[in-house]
């Protein structure tokens, strides 16, 4: 087990480095950081001056390792677009995104798990069909459009929720529904097939034969075995949420990391964009690692 965890950890670390490397090179070769600092109308001499002043004329590998070293010592660089250290920007914006990610995963759990359970308990019934059509629709709905539709219904036509903003938890309800919807299909499908497998297994038949039935059977025996893989898939989905927050935060004007990413891209703010790609990749990698470890803990066959 320890060997498995160590192996996975090393691979994750290597992936994180590769991504930081690729992102940094891509952004610094195909765009001119000096030009970005100087602005659109800068003269050639000004750009050249900035190039030497900020050290953009040094080899790209030197700059990459300097940047990477900066990340480890907490110096994330300075955003020319926001005129702030990127680290400060991240600290300001991260709470909103974390809040949104956690709330949207709660929405997913509240919708997908009951639907999956009921679908598995009554296969091929109306409930099962309904759950399946919810999954199929949720997969086809464009996230940003769902957000706008919810605003039209619940903020414009019936003013129940605020249109946009991030001041109170109330502001986060519609965005969480939007972001949570995209994770409903995989979680629901897994819950359904997992529980169906368990229900058809020998030990449940034995439990049934000695007189367990109904809810007691499901909650006490079946669910316990079906719910563990769900936890790992939810961890993966939580990793997705940070990257997925970009669209939702832009639609609802939440000042989180996702909106910061979009605005920085539009403002050609390379220092912020490259850190954000790295941060989103790291969160994804960490949650995936957790999920892998959990799966391996549950199923020794995966520890090879």
């Amino acid at each position: 087990m320890l060997k498995f965890v160590a192996g996975r950890f090393l691979v994750s670390l290597a992936v994180a480095f590769t991504i930081s490397f690729v992102t940094f090179f891509f952004l610094n070769i195909f765009t001119d950081p000096a030009q970005a600092v100087a602005g659109e109308e800068a003269l050639f001499e000004e750009i050249e001056q900035i190039r030497t002043q900020y050290g953009f004329d040094r080899p790209i590998l030197t700059r990459y390792f300097e940047w990477l070293g900066g990340i480890f010592t907490g110096d994330f660089g300075v955003s020319y677009y926001w005129n702030k250290p990127v680290g400060t920007l991240l600290l300001e914006r991260a709470p909103q995104t974390i809040k949104l990610a956690l709330m949207s995963v709660s929405v997913t759990i509240m919708v997908a798990i009951p639907l999956g359970i009921f679908a598995a308990l009554n296969p091929n019934s109306i409930i099962d069909r309904f759950a399946l059509s919810v999954a199929v629709s949720a997969q086809a709905i464009p996230n940003f459009w769902l957000g706008l539709i919810l605003i039209i219904i619940f903020s414009v036509t019936f003013p129940i929720f605020p249109v946009s903003g991030d001041k109170t938890y109330y502001h986060f309800i519609l965005p969480s529904v939007v972001l949570g919807t995209s994770s409903v299909p995989p979680v629901m499908r897994l819950m359904r097939t997992g529980l169906l497998d368990v229900i058809n297994s020998d030990y449940i038949r034995t439990a049934r034969s000695i007189g367990f039935s109904g809810w007691r059977l499901v909650t006490k025996h079946a669910l316990r075995n079906a719910v563990l893989p769900i936890i790992s898939v939810i961890a993966v989905q939580l990793g997705h949420k940070f990257g997925g927050s970009l669209i939702t935060e832009s639609v609802f004007a939440i000042n989180g990391l996702g909106r910061l990413a979009l605005l920085s891209i539009l403002g050609a703010d390379i220092p912020t964009v490259q850190i954000l790609i790295f941060v989103f990749a790291i969160t994804f990698i960490v949650f995936n690692l957790l999920s892998d470890i959990l799966n391996a803990y549950l199923d020794p066959r995966l520890r090879l």
Binding site: A140, F144, I152
Partner: protein, 307 residues
């Protein structure tokens, strides 16, 4: 010929024939006849494609002609609407129905184009990794792991903002970021097939590696590739709409549905149909493609039963 085939397969004699007497193709066709999701998806997709691709040839309409005196006319079912502009007009006085219909072409072009690019990358890497194994396989798996960890939309937007946006760029970039499913499926299938007797036999008679790959391996994973391709068209269409909505994909005045929704966002309080209508078009197109893909998976899977 197709009609003859359909006729032969739908007549009662054939439908009552024993399963043992059917060829695998016959079984697939019979599964298709009984698969309601597949039929629904196919019907809806054909309808949308017909309207989007062929109707503009016969009906006189333009998605670009502006008439400032006819700005923001409501659609026909609400008060003040007229049959001249069935879906009303947008903020520049353009026929909204025409813009939505022409948007189908943009979505389909990008969906099919990007899925093709993704397929070329994924299938090539998958066959190489599965067939050669060893260190090659490990390298490809590592690339896959890295690709999966990349924050998709953010990376997509970053690349497009640097390279500059055009139809070709959008297709290429979405395709380059959506090949992982193709890789996983082809790699697994190639690994499975590689050790079968008939590949050994082909090797023994001295067949070239490229020949083995193209004549013995690819045809055997083709069904799965088609299924993934269909589903990826849907994914690519959604990705295009998303980046166009955020302002970094297809640029106005090209009638991409993402662009239409972004333009409609300005009028969210008073003209909500400008957002609702293109979104419904997008939803219907993607859901029809997904149902077709899911249906194809069931039909081509030899382990599922008929009905």
């Amino acid at each position: 010929m197709i009609l003859k085939y359909i006729f032969r397969h739908t007549n009662p004699d054939f439908l009552n024939r024993d399963l043992e007497k059917l060829t695998p193709k016959d079984i697939m066709f019979r599964k298709a006849i009984y698969h309601s999701g597949f039929k629904f998806g196919l019907l809806l997709l054909s309808t949308i494609t017909f309207i989007g691709v062929f109707v503009p040839f016969f009906v006189d309409m333009s998605p670009y002609d502006q008439d400032i005196s006819k700005r923001l006319l409501p659609p026909v079912w609400s008060e003040g609407g007229s049959w001249q502009y069935i879906f009303g007009t947008d903020g520049n006085g353009r026929d909204y129905l025409a813009r939505i219909i022409y948007g189908t072409r943009v979505s389909l072009t990008i969906g099919i184009g990007a899925a093709t690019v993704g397929m070329l990358i994924g299938v090539t890497l998958g066959v190489i990794a599965g067939y050669f194994g060893g260190i090659v396989d490990q390298v490809v798996s590592y690339i896959l792991t890295c690709q999966l960890a990349l924050p998709g939309i953010l990376f997509l937007l970053t690349i497009i903002s640097i390279v500059g946006s055009s139809l070709t760029v959008v297709i290429l970039v979405i395709g380059v970021l959506h090949w992982t499913l193709f890789l996983v499926v082809t790699r697994a299938a190639t690994q499975r097939i590689r050790n079968l007797d008939y590949i050994t036999a082909a090797n023994a008679i001295g067949a070239r590696k490229t020949n083995i790959i193209f004549t013995d391996i690819i045809p055997n994973v083709l069904n799965q590739i088609i299924v993934i391709f269909t589903l990826e068209v849907g994914v690519a269409i959604l990705a295009e709409a998303t980046i166009s909505f955020l302002g970094l994909g297809i640029q106005p005045p090209t009638p991409s549905w993402g662009v239409l929704i972004a333009e409609g966002k300005e009028a969210i309080f008073f003209q909500p149909w400008l957002i609702i209508l293109p979104g419904i078009a997008l939803f219907l197109l993607v859901i029809s493609i997904n149902m077709l893909g899911d249906g194809l998976r069931d039909i081509t899977d030899p382990n599922t039963s008929i009905e």
